[in-house]
């Protein structure tokens, strides 16, 4: 077949209807404090990894909650588990614990 050099652009939109929300639901059931995140960004501001790389734990957990898991597991490898995020969180979310949980449960993709 002739390769014309065209591709179909992948839709980058989050589609709640077609995303597999089952892990998101399970996570929120087991870790309800996650819903109380007000996206202040303190965790990312203080993050050791975040200051050296594009690692953004605030954004990653939101992606997981919306059923967007791709690439998250790999991204989480940047975390050094220092736990400063947990110390600064005004909502008292155990972010370090969340990272460990996600690393255990999310597929490596």
């Amino acid at each position: 077949m002739v390769n014309w050099g065209y591709t179909i652009t992948r839709v980058r939109r989050v589609d709640i209807d077609s995303n597999d929300m089952s892990y998101s639901r399970k996570l929120l059931a087991e870790f309800p404090e996650l819903q109380s995140c007000i996206a202040c960004g303190s965790c990312t501001a203080t993050c050791t990894a975040g200051n050296l790389t594009k690692f953004n734990v605030r954004k990653l957990q939101t992606l997981v909650r919306r059923g967007e898991y791709e690439g998250v597991r790999k991204e989480l490898e940047k975390c050094m588990l220092c736990g400063k995020c947990r110390l600064v969180c005004p909502r008292g979310i155990n972010i370090r614990g969340l990272v460990q949980k996600l690393k255990k449960e999310l597929p490596v993709k």
């Binding site: 819903q35 605030r58 909502r91």
Partner: protein
Amino acid sequence: MSKKVIIIGGGVAGMQAAVTLEELGIRSVIIEKEDGLGGKLRRWDRLFPTMTPAEEVLDELKDRVQRSGVEVMTSCEVSEIGCEGRMVTLKDGSSLESDAVVVASGFDLFPAELKEEYGYKIYDNVFTTVDLERMFRNGGVRTVDGRIPKTVAFLHCVGSRDEKVNQRHCSRVCCITGVKQAIEIKQEHPDTEVYSFYMDMRMFGPGYEELYRQAQQEFNIHFVRGRISEASQTIDHRIQIKAEDTLIGLPLKMTVDMLVLIVGMKAGESNLRWSRCQGVDLYPSSFVKPKNLFLGGVESDSKHIFYAGTVTAPKNIGESIDEGIAAAHRVAQRLKEE
């Protein structure tokens, strides 16, 4: 002859102003355009943040009015305030003399159909917060064809902070109303997924932030920061919505069984009529501008015109009732001076 004060509007602020005036020995007349006292509260089911039944507050206020012997004129509308508060003209052309006027004419609800992109009154399953209160009162939240909704989306700031519909102000109380109603839906249908799309969450009152947190943590309501840009009806009469999840920076799409538009408070239509009277000024938002935001919140620049409640700005029930008390005391002071 004893002094007489006219209260324009028989909502919570007007009722309390009248009652307090009677307590201070001043006769008052409430002029209410609808067929009964209570104003907007008559259409509400439960009140934030305590989930107190609206009737509890309303019945108590009505009781106070009845006990104090305030004269109440219902189905009667004031068309103009004359002589700087020394008389009012009614819609039927007659006029009433008074020693002072307390304007407690309240607010109007933002007509959600003006935001055509959300399809209110076009699509079947788009509702407002007011519709939802009616459903709570009438036995439960259902879609148009009587089903329990499996997914519900709330949209905050409909007719608030929106230049496109000339409503630049923040209506304050709608954020917490949305949180309250989202919780009520979860209480009624625990398996329903509730999403709330917001621009900012403004939890200004005691217990509000706590309720918001409860909504997040206990009721698992999904708060998405991003304003819905448009809604459209699917072939099975569900509503497809588009927004940006601004916290991850990606556009988002989902289909819900029900879209609830959290409508804001708009300045009362009658404010324009009051502004024809000398000493009554309006903000660009058309809410009435009190004499002084810090020291004269219930006063006007006219000696005999006073304000109470949402005629001057969006307020909650407690604040409006307190302003009724404040206005009454100011009136009494002024009449004593004369």
